[in-house]
């Protein structure tokens, strides 16, 4: 499931569990960049953000080398952060709900304040922010994906099942005028990562997220990484700086990716990627640079996820905004990439979407208004309670 429950730390605290990151040009306001981070899988009304953590977008200008296949992005040293913190709740209100306030500090040092779950959000300095409970836009056939990895064969079916259908998440959305907020010198192409970090004098990175499914599919154990056969690397990976991996565990991440990418390549019975003699997979270094790459100057497009990376791999000019939009079918894109390198038919998990995202701020569809009732099969507390 994208980045839902990616490691023991995330499982222990849903409020800091980054489930997804999105970055796309606004479909309704050209020139404005939309950044979305989601936390709290299977959230329910009443879920709130932690007041002991910060929720942060980190954005760096990036250049895309042209005409040199296999190159890496050139990530600039300048960084623009949008850091959101949340208060302890006040209330409860007449509906018994607690009101929580969020404050987003912008790269300029100015801040935007807003109430959680207030659809109007808050606005200032060319940035608009929203935080609250919305429908989880992520979709995939989780069971068949797990079966694929366990069985070593593509187990997807034409009509898959999306177990996240109707689930909600807590989301933090920032829409901004990139040229004004980041300055014209930053250009229009950005590398974007998200983090949850402890507040206090010695901040600890709790989770970080760039591309979907790097941790839960590509780095999750599947028994083919002989160097680290039983070690779950995901919490270590979560602690890394997205723009500068530390040297301590780097070879472990490389080993895991090389082994697993080779495994996925063979799922259709043929190899489409050519590993180097030392076993290095052509995608490994690119994926270790784990951030979304989006061109805010291009028009909004759907299913443009990984298109800029594809262009980089092929040494051609990219054509779309890249990034990742809320409706992107990232599982199909990922599996097609790693299984047949685009040389065969598109690999599909048989799940093609959930409730479509809105085209207006705050972009994510409203939270499921009719959460299913608990079934009789779930034991209730004894009657003497």
């Amino acid at each position: 499931m994208s980045d839902h429950l990616s490691g023991t730390r995330a499982v222990a605290d849903p409020a800091i569990d980054l489930t997804d990151l999105y970055a796309f040009p606004s479909p309704s306001r050209p020139g404005r960049l939309v950044l979305v981070l989601d936390v709290f899988p299977s959230a329910w009304p009443g879920a709130l953000f932690s007041d002991a953590a910060s929720y942060r977008f980190r954005v760096r200008p990036v250049s895309v080398p042209m005409g040199h296949s296999g190159a890496l992005f050139d990530v600039g040293a300048d960084e623009f952060a949008l850091t959101c913190t949340f208060s302890a709740p006040a209330g409860p209100d007449e509906d018994g709900r607690s009101a929580q306030r969020g404050t987003c500090v912008l790269p300029s040092g100015a801040s935007v304040s807003f109430l959680v779950n207030d659809e109007r959000g808050g606005e200032g300095d060319d940035v608009r922010c929203y935080a609250g409970l919305r429908l989880d836009p992520f979709f995939m056939d989780v069971a068949k994906e797990v079966e694929t990895r366990a069985s070593g064969r593509l187990a997807f079916v034409p009509q898959g099942t999306n177990p996240l259908e109707g689930n909600d998440v807590l989301t933090f959305v920032a829409e901004l005028d990139a040229a004004r907020v980041f300055g014209p010198a930053a250009g229009s192409v950005f590398a974007v990562a998200a983090e949850t970090v402890t507040l206090g004098p010695y901040p600890v990175r709790l989770e970080r997220l760039g591309r979907p499914e790097v941790k839960n599919i590509l780095m999750s154990e599947n028994g083919v990484d002989t160097a680290n056969k039983i070690v779950d690397l995901r919490d270590l990976y979560n602690e890394e700086d997205p723009f500068r991996l530390g040297p301590t565990y780097l070879d472990a991440y490389r080993s895991r990716l090389n082994a697993n990418l080779g495994f996925f390549d063979g799922l259709d019975g043929k190899l489409d990627w050519t590993a180097q003699p030392d076993g290095t997979h052509p995608l490994t270094e690119l994926l270790l640079a784990d951030f979304l790459v989006v061109d805010a100057a291009k028009p909004y497009a759907e299913d443009s996820y990984f298109e800029i990376e594809w262009a980089l791999l092929e040494g051609r000019e990219y054509t779309t905004c890249g990034g990742r939009s809320l409706n992107d079918d990232v599982i199909d894109t990922l599996y097609t990439l790693i299984v047949n390198a685009g040389h065969g038919p598109r690999v599909s998990d048989g799940v093609d979407g959930t409730v479509p995202a809105l085209r207006e701020f705050p972009y994510l569809a409203p939270a499921n208004p009719y959460p299913p009732e608990q079934a009789a099969t779930i034991p209730k507390a004894p009657a003497n309670r």
Binding site: W44, D51, S98, V146, G200, I378
Partner: protein, 358 residues
Amino acid sequence: MSGVTAADRAGGDLAGGPRTTAGVIAMGNLDARIEGLAAQAVPGRLTAAGWGELVELTALRGHVGGRIDEVERVAALADMFVDRAPGDPRPLLARAGVAAHFHRFAAALDDLEAAAVLGLDRCTVDVERAAVCQAVGRYDEAHALCRRALSRRRDFGTVAAMARCHADNGGAAHEADEAAEAETWFLAARRAYRGVSPFPLAILEFQCGRMWLVRGGPARARTWLESAVARLPSYVPALGHLAEADAAEGRRAAAVERLRRLVLVSDDPEYATGLARLLGGCGASAEARFWRARAAARYEELMARHPEAYVDHAAEFWLTVGGDPQRALRLSLQNLAHRPTPRARALVDRARCRVGQR
């Protein structure tokens, strides 16, 4: 132990610790997460990991809220979970936790053994096994398991397990040294915590506070328990032990006030027992009788459903405010046979004294 500062050894910085999410948010999020998982379980969409989380979080809510009925619900959930994923070690781990909670230690060890066979990591198995060994008085074995877990992985979980091991070591020759050693480990565990959820830290602090109460250090206990309650203001067992600290320090009115609030939210008869004892001691005999009767009835129910888990508390009840020392002696002997710990022996001795056998 290595890595412990002199300040820790001197008992400094007992209060405080890492900043964690406000209790009101954490409790709301716990409810929201449980509801979300339960909703997924309805159409059978919940993964094995999701079932495990549902069991674990429901048990957590039961513990924090002092709700025995919630933990009983967890037992049913855990059985369902095992049925649904027979080849997965996680359901067995979850069920082992519930069995241990209700003092069905043999069943807990069986489930842990089966989970280990199915591939559950050794470190987790060792930590869980150590808890069972401690509960039945096999302290040396528990200590060895904790040491082995620490050698494999040194993190909050394994350091906290070692802290609990020292705290519960009823057989230690030098109790004061053992308590100081335990506190050193509790402090080390708190420093090793990497997260913002208040639950693991509040539980850790509660456990250290409970240790000091048992070992006759109510002031030190208060520091730890107040820290736990600052993280989770509605943490019932911590509030209950704070009431004990109040009573031990002569603050009877404050203890009564706390217990009056707890008996309204918790179905654990321990609070009604404590309230009856305090009220009886200050002449409020009518109200004391009411809470005594309430506790007696609840112990009858619990003894019928979970005899192993409540036999020691029930023995304590009948020995004190329950006013039936013969019954207390029978129950305390039953308890000693089930878990031969120094505490169980002391309970038998007290009961024998009361009935004139010593």
